[in-house]
Symmetry: C2
Subunit: 313 residues, 2 copies
């Protein structure tokens, strides 16, 4: 399998980032009318320096399986980032983590007040579905014959189902609830695995599965994408734990050692940094091995996966 050279990858990454930001801008609400404030608050959080990892994984998985229709994948890319953003806005609220800063910017409730931040989070979640549902326009416009249209609708409905499931009580929200309820009395490696799978893994799974589904991948490939993305999600979160211990505040762009300070039970705390690192390596190797089973390839996606897991910040 070909690999992408470091410099080449960085160029491709920049290119893709600006492509994705362009797509995000298309789907952001116009700040106009009687309800301009909430739209402003939505856009404030939505454009707060995210790395757009989820939408990038979605787009590249879509391309891996030959997807080319930006009118179809674009709304789902925006939707997954909106869901990720709303979860951060609500997470930062005083009744949750009470964080005043995120990615170096004041959080929504500091700027707009708690009530407006709450509503802007609700609005982002709702708008995510509104936007993704809008993908059916693309399907309808393109398909001259009924069986093509039917195929498109089926894929969109299936993608919507995955998006909703992975964001909900059996996905991300479930993980947040487990996080809230985890303490020294009930912690175990099993529990931590389930919690990470839900809290972080679920949206990564949704990203890649939606990409595969919309591109028309066969069930076997969609299932393989699911196991790969679950490994990536888990490795990604354990890497986060490790960086919190080993990184500096400057490197991370957010306070280091915050887990220890908040007495958070993490993989690194439970197993130690070395063992946690071994786990990341294991997951990473497994994900790549599975990826190489595909009859398709997307060099950029493969490199993206490797870098996400081995990232230093």
């Amino acid at each position: 399998m070909k690999t992408v050279k470091p410099m080449e990858y960085d160029l491709m990454l920049d290119e893709r980032r600006s492509e994705i930001e362009g797509i995000m801008r298309r789907f952001m609400p116009e700040e106009e009318g009687e309800t301009a404030t909430v739209k402003e608050a939505m856009n404030y959080s939505f454009s707060s320096g995210s790395k757009r990892i989820r939408s990038m994984l979605m787009l590249e998985t879509y391309r891996l399986f030959g997807g080319t229709d930006m009118e179809l994948i674009g709304p789902f890319m925006a939707a997954i980032e909106m869901i990720h953003t709303y979860s951060l806005v609500h997470d930062d609220l005083p009744c949750m983590d009470n964080d005043d800063y995120r990615r170096g910017k004041k959080t929504a409730h500091v700027v707009y007040g708690e009530a407006m931040a709450l509503l802007s989070g609700d609005a982002l979640l709702n708008y995510a579905f509104e936007t993704a549902i809008g993908a059916c326009k693309a399907a309808e416009g393109k398909s001259a014959d009924a069986s093509e249209a039917l195929t498109a609708y089926r894929r969109i409905m299936r993608a919507l189902g995955i998006l909703a499931e992975k964001a909900g009580i059996n996905g991300m929200i479930g993980g947040q609830v487990m996080d809230m309820e985890t303490d020294e009395s009930n912690i175990s490696l099993d529990r931590l695995n389930t919690m990470y799978n839900l809290k972080t893994g679920a949206l990564i799974e949704a990203s890649m599965m939606v990409g595969a589904i919309l591109a028309g991948a066969v069930d076997e490939d969609i299932e393989r994408i699911r196991t790969i993305s679950a490994d990536i999600g888990l490795a990604f979160q354990i890497r986060d734990d490790i960086l919190d211990v080993t990184g500096s505040t400057q490197e991370l762009g957010k306070p280091a050692h915050s887990d220890e300070k908040n007495r958070k039970i993490t993989y690194a705390a439970l197993l130690g940094v070395d063992k946690a690192g071994e786990e990341v390596d294991k997951l990473s190797r497994r994900a790549v091995r599975e990826y190489e089973e595909f009859a398709y390839n997307n060099d950029f996606l493969k490199e993206l996966i490797l870098r996400l897991i081995s990232r230093k910040k």
Copy 2:
């Protein structure tokens, strides 16, 4: 046009309420697994003595246009009530209205704490879409031929679009934002009309429009349903204002005169109770006149509309 006799209507209402509660129960999440608490919190609020007006309007409008498939309409009925419920859970939070009681029961944040109440609201909104998207299973299972399946998918996607739009920034959430930002400096009858249309009207519109769309009503009929439901929603909210002034706490089952106490600017406060009452009558007459233009009839729905507007509590 036939009318329903009072006693007959009450019997029919009871019958329909228990039918609807049965449907709601089918779609409530099982309180099991690692995330049982949030499911319990969702169900606590979801089964807190709602009158299920929105799902009832949806079902009866569906029946007005000949709809009979409960596997198709059921998920959407549950979804609209979940959306209504989440909006109340978030509305009651300390950073919003800070209400400790609703319908005589402690609010979610009093019972489960603020963080869990917030997450349970998010979960209800997400689960509403998860549930409604699940309606496609019904469509798929039933339609042997492709063109029937395509028609079903188109209706479901259109209904999902209306649901998301009317619940979002250009619907209910938009109305909540306007409510928050309305004070003596910017109040006008125009602003109040827009605010009521969004805050209360939008979900009533969604209820009836989704019923019509899923039953396969023609565009002209869907549009007529939209204007009727907008009138009903506005009349319903103005009636609420009037009852707050004229009703007793005992009659209402919630504190009377709360608008005045909270210095809320309402229709009744702006126009006086009598003029507000005239407005309700006008809207009511217009809604019924429009309703009578249909080539179809559903006696129960007509009576339901009249009673909603003239209700005493």
